[in-house]
Symmetry: C2
Subunit: 316 residues, 2 copies
């Protein structure tokens, strides 16, 4: 089958054998999405060799439990052992022995087929199109913030960054009724936010220490410094991005201001699917372009362009 | 009066005029304690010019409300405006216009007298000696951790550092019944912990990612790195120290492991006084030496020696 192979910071379209994993479902990919983490992996953020990609919607074509065959599914990206301390204590996404779809020791979804354990799969409601369903994984990641901290309707919440994940975070946070603003630079992301009635603000307008919760989605030192400036004493600063290398932080000011810095990663799929089914979010507005799997290298070129939000890869 | 003056990283014993602050209580210092923050201020951690010192027990000698005159008191160190956003939202220790006793724009307590607003004062119960009461401020700082996060009896809690504040943190955390261990290096701090039935551990014994909550009290990069290694995914890493300069942190690992980094500073005085009154903690075991105010420079020399815990300064 065709697959996008990453090795030594080089991606290439290769012919590889169809995956075989006893006990797992074989899934024919319908659509896959390019995420910032994919672009960072290509840049060498983390040493990974294998088929790239972790955002997908597909169809089960083989399964140990045949009731799954033919089901249209999305899949959680962490395949877990179920036996380690993290798994036994309700933190399976932190499984010590996990493999991660297209990220760590597990071939991903920019391919004709992939495999996943049945426990990772979620059936997609009929009313949720492929274009919507392919956003389940990043939408779940956005919802993870609300799994971790309580967002009150009186909270002043600032999202720093209005890219792929920033848009989904903004859409989900807006549902809480909190006092939300988003720092956006580019015209198109601004337009998307305005269309949903989400307030946008510029870096220059941010007054120091005025925000109860700040979500940093840029992954850059500039973004972090702005978030640090914006957060009020005893506020929560959520780190929701891929950070390149080490950051320098003034810990004394973190202590003096009693700031809460909170890392945030993968989130719950079912609530994400429900939001899509109820049309309470609309991630499809992010779609900038769609390429066939044979043109996946072009898709990556496009996704790396500034201001481009979601690029999809179709397997038909 | 005699006072310990800090200016340009130099401390000197000076004759200064007795403080006069209309509306505030005039307090005759009985005992004051030397804290790591004092030593850091002398090393230039923060630019402060004035009388040093913020841990004290004293006697009110003048007061706008005469019912306070003659009262033996301890005092909260943040003098606040009562009108800013932080004050109006229940975060007075983060008052935007605060002055801080012996730390920021307010003369401190290594002197014969100091002044504080009446709102900062707490009467010391008769059964609490001066030697105990002088620890109220750092004991309150230790209790701040429990104001910020819930410590469950099933939590595995590691305290990194067994110095002045580390000892008080260990004593207060032990009261929660949690599964507590303390990383200690020196013989005497170890002995104090063992005497209270608190488990000690060495750096080498710390297995990675096994602790639900880690309290970092060393203020050093080594201490932080050990704390970071020890904390489990989704655990809380409390920063409870004065940090010199900037620290470098691998933010990607904080995101991947969804770590919660929490700064922690000043805490509640009343619970601290209650613990002292009920003899549920015993800070007096930390006292290494006591000097008269005239010998305060010798007291600072002693306090800076490795392994020395609390040095008191007496004003009689």
């Amino acid at each position: 089958m065709q697959a996008l192979w990453l090795e030594n910071n080089q991606i290439s379209l290769r012919e590889v054998s169809r995956p075989v994993k006893p006990g797992e479902a074989l899934i024919k990919i319908r659509k896959a999405g390019i995420c910032s983490t994919d672009l960072e992996l290509v840049r060498g953020y983390y040493p990974y060799t294998g088929i790239l990609g972790h955002e997908f919607v597909g169809e089960v074509v083989e399964s140990p439990d045949t009731t799954w065959v033919g089901a249209r599914v999305v899949g959680e990206i962490n395949a877990v052992c179920g036996a380690c301390e993290a798994c036994l204590n309700g933190r399976p996404t932190h499984c010590e022995n996990r493999t991660v779809l297209g990220i760590s020791n597990r071939d991903g979804v920019f391919a004709e087929y992939t495999t996943l354990p049945l426990a990772n799969l979620h059936r997609v409601p009929d009313s949720v199109s492929d274009e919507m369903a392919v956003f389940t994984e990043p939408l779940a990641a956005a919802l993870e913030i609300q799994e971790q901290i309580q967002i009150k309707s009186t909270d002043r919440v600032l999202v720093v960054g209005a890219g792929r994940l920033g848009q989904l975070i903004a859409q989900t946070l807006a549902l809480t009724g909190c006092n939300l603003s988003v720092v956006a630079r580019h015209t198109f992301p601004k337009k998307l936010l305005t269309a949903r009635g989400i307030r946008i603000t510029s870096e220059e307008e941010i007054k120091p220490h005025q925000w109860d919760i700040v979500v940093e989605v840029t992954g850059s030192p500039d973004g972090f410094n702005l978030a640090r400036k914006a957060i009020r004493p005893r506020g929560t600063l959520v780190l929701k991005s891929t950070y390149k290398g080490e950051m320098t932080v003034d810990f004394s000011s973190i202590v003096v201001d009693e700031i809460n810095i909170l890392g945030s990663r993968c989130g719950p799929f079912e609530p994400a699917l429900q939001l899509l089914e109820k049309r309470e979010v609309d991630p499809t507005v992010l779609i900038a372009d769609e390429f066939k799997l044979g043109d996946v290298l072009k898709a990556f070129e496009k996704a790396a362009q500034p201001g481009v939000l979601k690029v999809l890869v179709e397997n038909k």
